[in-house]
């Protein structure tokens, strides 16, 4: 089997696995079943296959596959799924959050299939260890915020009287809110580290740690949104519904930063190419 064949086989099997896992999570929520071990196994196996696909592509193209739109979306799908698997494993009492966030993964996955799977070159300035550090922290940030989004989604659905019975077996809103807060605290730490790593890289490579390009500005807005969410909760003791709305708003901004800016800006970072 060639590397390309390995990549494609693993990739498509992983996508089928993600799709079945999403359907299963939603079916379990609607029909109040708990196929938790099956779901965890399915998601983990699909994630492993996706990892193999990305690894095969990495070897094939000779650099971390984060250059084209397809590669960016694939890496983000991988990061979001990794967060769901870890959250699913670490938060056994709150596993219903997966049914809330997995449709978002499916949406990004569908989008990922639109651009060509072409092989493109990384700019020479991307040949640095800081690229890996920057991307790793940003993936961790997005993952932590994604789990918080799932928990916030349950609180908001309950408040809207949607699926209240189906979420009845879950901990109270206050407990979900506490866990979401911890996830957002982690998100702040990882986002800060990601931005700092990016700034060190930018200063080293281009002499400016901040260029005010669209992606940098939106990453600042994302950081401010996380900071505001945490500050409001800590200072005003706001109820879970308000905190959840703030988390939702923060994720929308983060989502636009990661997935919308590539359509606004011609380069990942203006200064980078």
């Amino acid at each position: 089997m060639t590397l390309t064949e390995l990549e494609l086989n693993a990739f498509w099997t992983a996508l089928v696995g993600y799709s079945i896992a999403t359907a299963l999570a939603m079916w379990a929520l609607v029909f109040r079943r708990k196929p938790e071990r099956t779901l965890l196994f399915l998601m983990s196996t699909a994630l492993l296959l996706h990892t193999i696909a990305i690894g095969a592509r990495w070897v094939r193209v000779g650099h971390m596959p984060v250059a084209s739109m397809f590669e960016l979306l694939s890496a983000n799908v991988w990061g979001l799924m990794a967060a769901v698997v870890i959250g699913y494993w670490l938060l056994p009492r709150m596993r219903a959050f997966a049914a809330v966030v997995l449709p978002v993964v499916i949406m990004v996955m569908a989008w990922m299939l639109l651009p060509p799977m072409e092989v493109t070159a990384l700019p020479p300035t991307y040949d640095t260890i800081w690229l890996y550090v920057h991307i790793a922290f940003i993936k961790l940030f997005l993952g932590a915020a994604f789990v918080a989004l799932g928990l916030a989604g349950i609180i908001l659905l309950r408040a809207a009287n949607l699926g209240r019975d189906r979420f009845a077996g879950l901990p109270a809103d206050s407990a979900l809110d506490e866990t979401a807060y911890r996830c957002m605290a982690l998100a702040l730490i990882f986002d800060t580290l990601g931005i700092v790593a990016g700034s060190i890289w930018a200063h080293d490579a281009w002499g400016r740690y901040w260029s005010w390009d669209p992606l940098e500005i939106w990453s600042l807005l994302t950081w401010l949104a996380i900071g505001l969410t945490l500050h409001v909760r800590a200072s005003f003791r706001t109820p879970p519904v308000i905190n959840s709305l703030l988390i939702l708003g923060t994720f929308v901004i983060a989502f636009f930063t990661f997935f919308g800016i590539p359509f606004v800006s011609t380069a990942l970072h203006k200064g980078a190419i």
Binding site: P123, P124, A185, I189, G207, I217, L221, L228, H231
Partner: protein, 326 residues
């Protein structure tokens, strides 16, 4: 004291977040000056943070929280100092020539000194390497520089690899082009060499032929255009100095209404002297940046991130322990 207490209100902090976001969007959408757009938010943040630290007992009880907010204050101070002392400029140098403080563009903070005048470096040619795929290529430019004792060294710099001299970071830019070398022998006076930096070459040598005006020292102004017989598109692999030494070409020199075609080594008579075309060279564009606050910023960021980890790490550990106990 009442004013301090009012300024310390967490409502003001919410206002700061909104103001910072508005400033950032102003830079993005309306291309406002970042310094001006962010100044009101940073001023309010400074007042709010200082008042909070002074009046809120929680900061005295919670060391990591205090350290994080002091680090934020320090960052604001460093950003301000950075804007007052920074420098950013561009220049171009023909192969074999030294930097003489002639800048194409420059921006500098009000407190920036004249350290630029002591910079001494020379362009000694460049090589471009083209990858197997894509149009993005790497630049390797050899630059000679001198230390205070007069010893000279050669560094290889590029688009992302700077030469750092006295805190100034010198990078190559994407601008580069051909530069014909002439010997100008005036009827009266000493002969001297001079170069004309022709406009940048479009990628692959397509588009208009590069041309420029040149005022001969003490003589008339000539117009010079490079006519390349056939500049091959960059192939995979390497290319030195845009291929200046090997490309077949001739120059078109125009003086008033007179048009001449000149090959390397040929001499033409112009008003006031003789002009010999010595050969084709290349020129490279440079970006020079300076920010003396970088090391302080790095140290402060480490303290800020460390205190953030301390603050939230403690919170996460405590809650995890509580859940285990439950």
């Amino acid at each position: 004291m009442k004013l301090l207490a009012a300024l310390a209100s967490p409502r003001w902090t919410v206002g700061v977040f909104v103001l910072l976001a508005a400033g950032a969007l102003g830079v993005l959408e309306f291309e406002l000056s970042a310094t001006l757009a962010m100044a009101p938010a940073f001023t309010l943040l400074t007042a709010n943070l200082a008042a909070s630290i002074a009046t809120n007992a929680r900061f005295r009880r919670d060391l990591p929280l205090l350290v994080f907010h002091l680090a934020l204050l320090m960052l604001i101070a460093l950003f301000s100092i950075g804007r007052l002392t920074y420098f950013e400029g561009t220049t171009t140098l023909t192969d074999g020539t030294e930097f003489d403080n002639d800048l194409l563009s420059e921006e500098r903070g009000a407190w920036h000194g004249d350290g630029l005048s002591t910079l001494r470096f020379r362009n000694e040619g460049f090589t471009e390497k083209f990858p197997e795929r894509g149009n993005l290529h790497a630049t390797y430019n050899r630059v000679r520089w001198w230390d205070d004792a007069g010893n000279s060294y050669v560094a290889e710099i590029g688009d992302d690899i700077p030469l750092v001299l006295d805190g100034y970071r010198i990078y190559t830019s994407w601008r580069r082009g051909f530069s014909p070398l002439f010997l100008w022998e005036p009827d009266a006076g000493e002969a001297e060499y001079g170069t004309v930096q022709l406009q940048e070459m479009a990628s692959g040598g397509s588009g208009f032929a590069p041309a420029s005006d040149w005022q001969l020292p003490g003589g008339p102004t000539i117009w010079v255009m490079l006519d390349l017989d056939n500049l091959p598109a960059p192939e995979r692999g390497r290319r030195d100095a845009l291929g200046a030494e090997s490309v077949r070409h001739h120059l078109i020199v125009r003086l008033d209404n007179e048009r001449r075609e000149v090959l390397p080594g040929e001499t033409i008579e112009v008003e006031g002297g003789r002009l010999t075309y010595a050969g084709l060279r290349s020129w490279m564009g440079y970006r020079i940046v300076y920010d003396p606050t970088i090391d302080w910023l790095n140290a402060t960021v480490i303290v800020a991130v460390g205190s953030l980890l301390w603050f939230y790490g403690r919170l996460l550990r405590r809650r995890a322990a509580t859940e285990d106990a439950e």
